[in-house]
């Protein structure tokens, strides 16, 4: 047997092993996808062969309550992403390139990243209720933006540091201000990193549950909370849950797959470059 053939056989066997493991491992996800396409009568029977229907999606998307939740999630996640980038880009740039004493701020950023949400939930809840901002988009946006700042600043600082400091110095000598260096030189050079950071912030805001549960009721409730209602109202509505689960999770899955080049770097705050 030639070497090339042995390599081919090895590759085929390993690929098949990967396929088998993958299907087993992803079974819960595959089942979730299938559930979304079942008819209500079909969901109780446990089988893979069935006539797919879009009834579940139609039902969920026609539900004005669910529409509201999804719309809230879109508004909150998009505004959060915009806010975080606006605040974190200058901060990340300053920490990477400007002659400031950033050590104390860096430590503060790291500590803030590690503080458990539950620890500040109660005081924030009390403050929000006293200020009368419970169940508003604004309070979620402010909180989500701040929660994601440490991570975004840290990550962006890493991307800006990949740009040599000499470029900034040359631009400063040519008469640029630091604001111009940032917007006209640094940002165009780090576009992919900025986009990746924005996507990660969007995903985090989209997925957040604890603060949405505690601080919103009906008006500003986000999509993950909608899932809960399908279980409580009329018993378990399998098809609705399957369809809603797909609608809520598919955007994040697609975003993450598109950004997978940066995923490892993002999740480990730059300590693993991927």
């Amino acid at each position: 047997m030639t070497l090339a053939m042995r390599a081919l056989i090895r590759k085929t066997v390993l690929s098949l092993a990967c396929l088998a493991i993958g299907v087993t491992y992803l079974f819960p996800y595959i089942w979730m996808v299938l559930t979304g396409f079942r008819s209500a009568a079909d969901t109780l029977a446990i089988r893979f062969i069935f006539t797919p229907t879009l009834a579940g999606f139609g039902g969920v998307l026609g539900d004005s309550g669910f529409q509201g939740h999804v719309l809230n999630s879109i508004v909150v996640a998009l505004t959060t992403t915009g806010t975080v980038l606006t605040v974190a880009i200058p901060a990340g740039y300053a920490l990477a390139h400007l002659p400031i004493r950033g050590a104390a701020f860096l430590v503060a950023v790291l500590v803030a990243r590690m503080v458990p949400g539950i620890a500040i939930l109660i005081p924030i809840y009390l403050a929000a209720s006293r200020l009368g901002v419970l169940d508003t988009h604004g309070v979620l946006i402010l909180l989500y933006s701040t929660f994601n700042l440490p991570f975004a600043i840290w990550l962006l600082r890493g991307f800006f540091r990949d740009v040599p400091g000499e470029i900034r110095e040359a631009a400063i000598i040519d008469g640029c201000s630091d604001r111009q260096v940032l917007t006209m030189i640094m940002m165009p050079l780090t576009t992919s990193g900025i986009v990746a950071t924005g996507v990660f912030v969007f995903i985090a805001a989209w997925n957040e549950f604890l603060f949405a549960l505690a601080l919103t009721n009906t008006f500003a409730a986000t999509a993950p909370l909608a899932m809960v209602s399908f279980r409580n109202e009329y018993g378990v509505q399998w098809t609705a849950i399957g369809a809603a689960a797909l609608i809520i999770s598919t955007p994040v899955v697609l975003f993450a797959v598109a950004m997978q080049r940066f995923l490892v770097r993002g999740l480990t705050m730059g300590s693993v470059k991927g």
Binding site: K11, L14, S15, C18, Y25, L26, P28, Y29, W31, M32, I46, V87, A88, A91, Y93, A94, L98, I100, R101, G102, A104, F105, V109, M114, V115, P116, G117, I118, A119, I120, L121, I122, P123, I124, Y125, L143, T146, W154, R161, D178, I203, W206, N207, F209, L210, A214, A223, P224, L225, M227, I241, A245, S249, V253, A256, V257, Q260, S271, V272, G274
Partner: protein, 309 residues
């Protein structure tokens, strides 16, 4: 740290540098971030510290002015249910990290080979990691259902008996299994990044020296992977300790308090007993636990961040 702050103060008092450029300028780049972080983190933390020194119960007006000293802290630290929650939290994080590290490493080793559709496998296998945790929990709860649940139907189909997944004895294990399912791709991706940065020359040299595949793994690849494993375990450990969504939606901490972690414990005390003094004391104790547990990681991140790339 206070010396650095004092130095900063002194510098910022001079508004112009020797070359005439305004010195106050650069700090404006970080001011909005500082303001937001102080408002949302520092403010509530200080407020919580003050509240934890009172006998404040929301349903009893006026109780917020009853000074308690350290009584709330003593109360919490001497409560068996609190220590039970600490044990559950640590055990949850530890079991989940060990298991997902093992599975993640195995998957990474598999994916590191030449495969058909390699990048497609990679993309698909990472899906569980990014699905909204609330969605995962609600769906897994359906999978775990005793009568109509999918897992039990599969077990019955295979001729095995039904399992009471969310019973007193099994709920903790089921909670861990769900988290392992979600965290495995994270370890897989980080370790794959490690595998792909192994020095090929070193591997070739080991091969020339007659090392077999096990020896090459044990003496060349594994030592290279250890830092990646540690970083991944640290990040995932923190995330698991702070997990709320999945546990709340799967078991609400039950049955009994078999899956009550510190986050669930705090949430329950806050929103059922409305005991603010005690809740804020728990919050502070939890912050101290998490910051102590993560200090090596913080130190590592800080140290490596100062080195020029």
């Amino acid at each position: 740290m206070s010396a650095a702050l004092a130095g900063e103060r002194r510098l910022s008092l001079r508004s112009v540098r020797a070359d005439g450029r305004p010195l106050v300028g650069p700090y404006w780049f970080i001011v909005p971030a500082v303001v937001m972080l102080s408002t949302v983190y520092l403010g509530p933390m200080i407020y919580a510290m003050m509240a934890s020194g009172t006998y404040w119960v929301l349903t009893e007006p006026g109780s917020e002015h009853l000074p308690a000293g350290l009584a709330n802290y003593v109360d919490v630290l001497s409560s068996p249910t609190f220590w039970h929650a600490v044990r559950v939290t640590l055990l949850y994080a530890l079991t989940s990290v060990v298991l997902s590290l093992t599975f993640g490493t195995a998957l990474a080793l598999l994916l590191d080979n030449e495969l058909f559709f390699a990048s497609m496998f990679r993309s698909i296998l990472m899906i569980p990691m990014v699905i909204t945790p609330a969605v995962i929990a609600i769906f897994w709860k359906l999978l775990y259902e005793q009568e109509a649940g999918v897992f039990n139907s599969v077990l019955t189909g295979l001729g095995l008996g039904k399992v009471a997944w969310l019973s007193l004895d099994r709920a903790f294990m089921s909670m861990v299994l769900m988290d392992v399912w979600q965290s495995t791709p994270f370890f897989m991706l980080v370790i794959l990044a490690g595998l792909q940065s192994v020095d090929q020359n070193l591997l070739d040299a080991a091969r020339v020296d007659g090392a077999n595949i096990v020896q090459r793994f044990r003496f060349v690849i594994l030592p290279h992977l250890v830092p990646y494993m540690v970083i991944a375990a640290a990040f995932r450990g923190i995330a698991t300790m702070n997990d709320f969504d999945k546990i709340w939606l799967l078991t609400q901490g039950g049955p009994g308090d078999s899956t009550t972690t510190i986050t669930i414990y705090t949430y329950k005390i806050a929103f059922s007993a409305f005991d603010m003094g005690r809740t804020t004391a728990i919050a502070w104790i939890f912050v101290c636990i998490v910051l102590t547990a993560t200090s090596p990681l913080l130190f590592h991140l800080f140290k490596t961040s100062r080195a020029r790339p």
